[in-house]
Symmetry: C2
Subunit: 690 residues, 2 copies
């Protein structure tokens, strides 16, 4: 059993510092537990009262019964650590601290003390600086959430974990308004102990959950994200994330190209996309996804998720087609039978294609008959009707719409309702009736299309095995060692301090050759004038050597020069850049992309979380813009993608094994014609400074 079971399904709750005044924050949780009928045991701790509202009240934590599941500590910051420790000594399994005034207010040491207590005693802590936890089906309200003064959200199958209490609370408000079911919510606060990844892991194991919704400001232990998302996918759970702080995530200071290309936001975007996470931009988009999963569940493998549309405006039909195409949502053609039914309902000049535009040729009942025909089409899972008071009598249509929504729900389909103008929605009470009947209601059709598109894409995701196949490589000690163990395929290279020796080497290898400066102080050789390509004979090599000595001296007069490297020049194929680096949130990541100057200029690179696997690397290579070149564009031969994949996988696996390596760059990795392999023309290994 996950240690968070006692948080989310506690048999007993202690409210430490509970107040009898329900208007105070410290009084709300008890009032909520009573009001919403929590069935477990409830205890209060407050020396001032023998009981509060019929709940037994103890003078101290040490007076509580032992082995309580959950303690909600309602005390101010300076009393939290002692209370937490006493809870631990009393056998409490999990605690929540709502108090502000820790790391978020500059008191990192105070917060570290809480972390230490958890690690010493094994008690788990949510918060501090959080709003608490909520499990509607159990009436379990270990929270001071203000929305519970109004209503408890309907039980459902979504787990919600938010790093902002206020936004989580605002979401509850929307759940109540939009009739979205909630399995549980945890406001994770400062995460002194339990973090989002722990909560996600717990909910992945919960069979009742079909959607895990996250609001993230900063990720701790993000290196667990990919493994968790692989598991979630295998267990038919979708993860939707609203990630805040895009504008604050800058590019890290870095030596390698990989590091420089690794804007934290770019890494997050790439990694979360490959993980199959539904990324949303706004709270409303998060809600839209939640509504769709609430109404339709996790997409079945065989479900077509086809949208049928009925409007009174041809223009709106065009806009919906655009939105469906943009969000990759199928608008399937109707069956012959459906077309025939519609043909009988509409005048001859109207087409009977999807979306159907009835214009003003039908009255409400004609519109309803068209809607029934579409909803019964076997290829249609969701019927979207676009309403407008300019053509429809809402009151007259209400009973029919409610009936259709109900019927649709019974046959595993869904009636979606939105409006020609978002100002033209149903009034609140009518809307409530339709929501209760199972209708999916959003103010505009594009939001319906976008949310359904998110769900549809989840059904298309590849399912990688939860544990990627990686050989456990030997650990390396030196850079040469690392390169050897990583099996980086190198071009023969000689390093020379003497020009004559260099020419002799080149004569043996054959021309053309490449000449490059070798210096620990020059990371970007091209900018230093330290690379000369395509030298066709000994004379060109000598001339370039002399010129390079000069330009390097000008560019970096203090640089230590190990010598000048000579390589035969490989002319066929295409250059990739491959790099490994450490993301502050997501840990070790891999980057692959179009190499050379194009990496930076065309930004055609993609990051993967590590460890990874060959299928994932292949998928990323196939998703690059330069993929057609690799596959053999415009009459060119196909390149050795498989050799590149294996070289990249070996490098990445070695990088995972070698913690002392902070960054690796292969730039370029030249992918040659199919069967001729891939070869690293320049490699940079940056050790960790520590």
């Amino acid at each position: 059993m996950s240690s968070l079971h006692s948080l989310l399904q506690p048999a007993s709750i202690a409210l430490v510092g509970a107040s009898p005044d329900a208007r105070k924050l410290a009084g709300r949780p008890l009032a909520y537990l009573l009001r919403y009928g929590f069935q477990g045991q409830v205890f209060a701790v407050n020396p001032k009262y023998p009981d509060i509202g019929g709940v037994p009240c103890f003078p101290s934590i040490s007076a509580l019964p032992r082995d309580i599941d959950l303690a909600l500590i309602l005390l101010p910051a300076h009393q939290v650590a002692d209370a937490l420790e006493q809870c631990a000594l009393q056998g409490v399994r999990c605690a929540i601290s709502i108090a502000g005034g820790f790391a978020e207010a500059g008191s990192a040491a105070e917060q570290q003390r809480l972390t230490d207590i958890c690690q010493t005693h094994g008690i788990r802590l949510i918060g501090p600086n959080c709003v608490g936890a909520l499990h509607p089906a159990l009436g379990m309200a270990a929270t001071f959430s203000s929305e519970l003064r109004n209503r408890m959200p309907r039980p459902g199958r979504m787990a919600l974990f938010t790093q902002s209490g206020a936004l989580g609370n605002a979401l509850l408000q929307s759940f109540n308004d939009l009739d979205i079911g909630l399995a549980y919510w945890v406001s994770s606060g400062n995460e002194a102990d339990v973090g989002l990844m722990d909560l996600v892991e717990h909910s992945i194991e919960d069979d009742n959950i079909n959607l895990i919704a996250l609001y993230i400001e900063g990720l701790k232990h993000g290196e667990r994200l990919s493994e968790l998302t692989r598991k979630a996918r295998l267990k038919n759970k979708a993860i939707v994330v609203l990630r805040a702080g895009k504008s604050q995530l800058g590019r890290a200071a870095a030596v390698s190209h990989t590091g420089k290309l690794a804007g934290a936001w770019k890494v997050w975007q790439d990694v979360s996309r490959q993980a199959g996470i539904i990324s949303v931009e706004t709270l409303d988009e998060l809600l839209d996804v939640a509504i769709v999963f609430d109404r339709l569940g996790f997409p079945g493998g065989s479900g077509t998720q086809g949208l049928g549309v009925l409007t009174v405006s041809g223009g709106m039909g065009v806009l919906i087609s655009d939105a469906a195409a943009e969000f990759q949502l199928p608008l399937p053609p109707f069956s012959g039978a459906t077309q025939a039914r519609l043909r009988g309902l509409l005048p001859a000049q109207m087409t009977v294609a999807n979306p159907v535009d009835t214009a003003l040729f039908t009255d409400e009942m004609g519109f309803a008959a068209c809607a029934e025909a579409v909803l019964e089409d076997p290829g249609i899972d969701v019927l979207l009707v676009v309403m407008t008071r300019l053509a429809h009598d809402y009151k007259a249509m209400l009973p029919w719409l409610a009936k259709q929504a109900n019927t649709a729900r019974k046959i595993g389909k869904c009636l979606a309702i939105s409006y020609l103008s978002s100002s033209d929605a149903f009034e609140r009470e009518d809307r409530s009736l339709l929501l209760e009947s199972g209708a999916l209601m959003l103010p505009t059709p594009d939001r319906v299309a976008r949310a359904l598109g998110h769900r549809h894409r989840v059904a298309q995701l590849p399912r990688y095995t939860a544990q990627p196949q990686v050989d456990t490589p030997q650990q390396s000690q030196t850079m040469q060692d690392f390169l050897r163990l990583a099996g980086v395929p190198q071009v023969p290279e000689g390093l020379f301090q003497d020009m004559g020796a260099a020419v002799k080497f080149a004569d043996t290898q054959g021309y053309p050759v490449v000449l490059k400066v070798s210096s620990p102080d020059i990371a970007h050789k091209t900018e230093a004038g330290g690379v000369a390509l395509n030298l066709k004979d000994a004379d060109s090599l000598r001339a370039s050597w002399l010129q390079m000595e000069q330009s390097v001296a000008t560019y970096a007069p203090l640089a230590r020069i190990d010598g000048y490297a000579v390589q035969p020049m490989v002319l066929d194929g295409f250059e990739l850049i491959v790099g490994c680096s450490v993301d502050p949130e997501l840990g070790r990541v891999l980057m692959v992309g179009a190499g050379g100057i194009y990496a930076e200029v065309f930004d055609d690179v993609c990051f993967l979380a590590l460890p990874t696997s060959a299928p994932e690397i292949r998928a990323v290579l196939a998703g690059l813009r330069c993929a057609p070149i690799l596959a053999g564009a415009r009459g060119q031969p196909a390149l050795d993608i498989e050799a590149a994949t294996q070289a990249i996988l070996r490098l990445a696996s070695q990088f995972v094994a070698d913690e002392w390596v902070r960054e690796v760059d292969i730039n370029p990795l030249r992918v040659r014609m199919n069967g001729r392999g891939a070869i690293a023309l320049d490699t940079l290994v940056v050790p960790d400074k520590n």
Copy 2:
């Protein structure tokens, strides 16, 4: 005076086929004109009645007084042409036909008859298949719009022209709900005569207009768009467009690279962006832009358009910062004085930066005091307050918010209001009060940031002179002629049927050389194996010649071969692709981009409407992803951007002059180091088939 003056400010209106029954479409316009107090003369035409509702009714059009400004023809399709002709003979200046059943229903010939009548007699026609025209300030309702049964929109400064009547009507409904002012609306229908471009041209000359809003499904005479948008910009009018049909605009069949890259949607996107058009994706986004212009007007040159934000959620502050960054809207730091005022209002642990998060540390009046401080900051033009019932008593704050909105409006600023949860908006009557006080209200803060961002970008647009400077070039007769007149800088080239002669030429020009097949039947030489680069000596040239003969014969056995071309190989610089083609909507367009294989793979190309000017070409080159390469990336020398600009401009101007040329491709145009010019290495000219 524009001929459309009689449409939008008619002194007299005739309603042809008017009905006394206001429930019928044909009865509505008269009822509306009476209800909304139109001050001009109104006449009805209907043989059945001597008068309708006190308005004089004539038995026929020919019985009407002469020289009426506007006739609204309410007759069915088969009677429209005759009625239009009679109107013309009676001196009517402009007519509207609402009847459906023309081109949209397959009756193109019927519609052509209307076009012919307009051209013969000079009468202007709106429609057919439209909803009519509306000018709220005049009570001028030449329309059957159903929303006018409810209310007339408030007069304002926005011109709205829509190709969908139903969506235009739905927008009116939103204008009324959101308190957005409207100058006039025209539903343009099938555009047998007057099209969107005519309406835009008219409204650009109207000093009252500050925003022109368009819903476009298909553009006629789109070649006028760029000239009109240049004019609009010089006259401080913004243009916002919701363009429908993205999913239906495919790539045109084309011979050239330019043609193949010219997806109609890509051309539209590029051209509209350069024209400074605000592109929106949804009706709600169009409304958001309309609200912002309604409240704040066209952005003044000196206005900072800075947004100040006040929330009770740090998380929402982060989300708003993200949105502001994404939509390029400044969130300026507060002045020292403002910071000091906030410092006095907030507890020590809260920061006083923009956005301000008051958390739960202030009551409503404290929140109000913070808001006043921000609104008085000289760098802030718009204060956004994010409300939530979870922290605020809306009723208690209402009077203060209304007062602040009013005060802000008086000093040229604006109070924007949105919500932590979009489900938590003010009730309708309270919202109305705030709207009337001048508040800018949108359900979510990201919509506020996006709409203000659109307006802010309009203020940053470069203002090109309305008439681009183009020499009027001589017209060409042949391809050679075209290339000579266009001054395309060519590399010396010899065309040979004989290998020996080719080698002699190469010996003279110097190696390396390039060998290319020359055939009217082979557009893509690389794919045919018809290009050999970097031939270093006579032997390589001979070998490539023999190989090329073979591969070309295999690829295209029936192709006519003019011979094989030899050129010295230009190795320095960077390759652009430059092309000209004819877009079905926007007419002659120019494309520039990164050349060679990268044009297609990295899609780094951009289209401009023609005619264009050097500053516009420079701006497009600077906006390409490959711009850093042109400017001299990573230690490479800067390239001759000016020479490229002039070569592109001359080519484009010649293309505008020569209607017989349908497509031109220069691929590549090699831009050499600064001072060494730009040179076309391969050029394709495709004549028009007609």
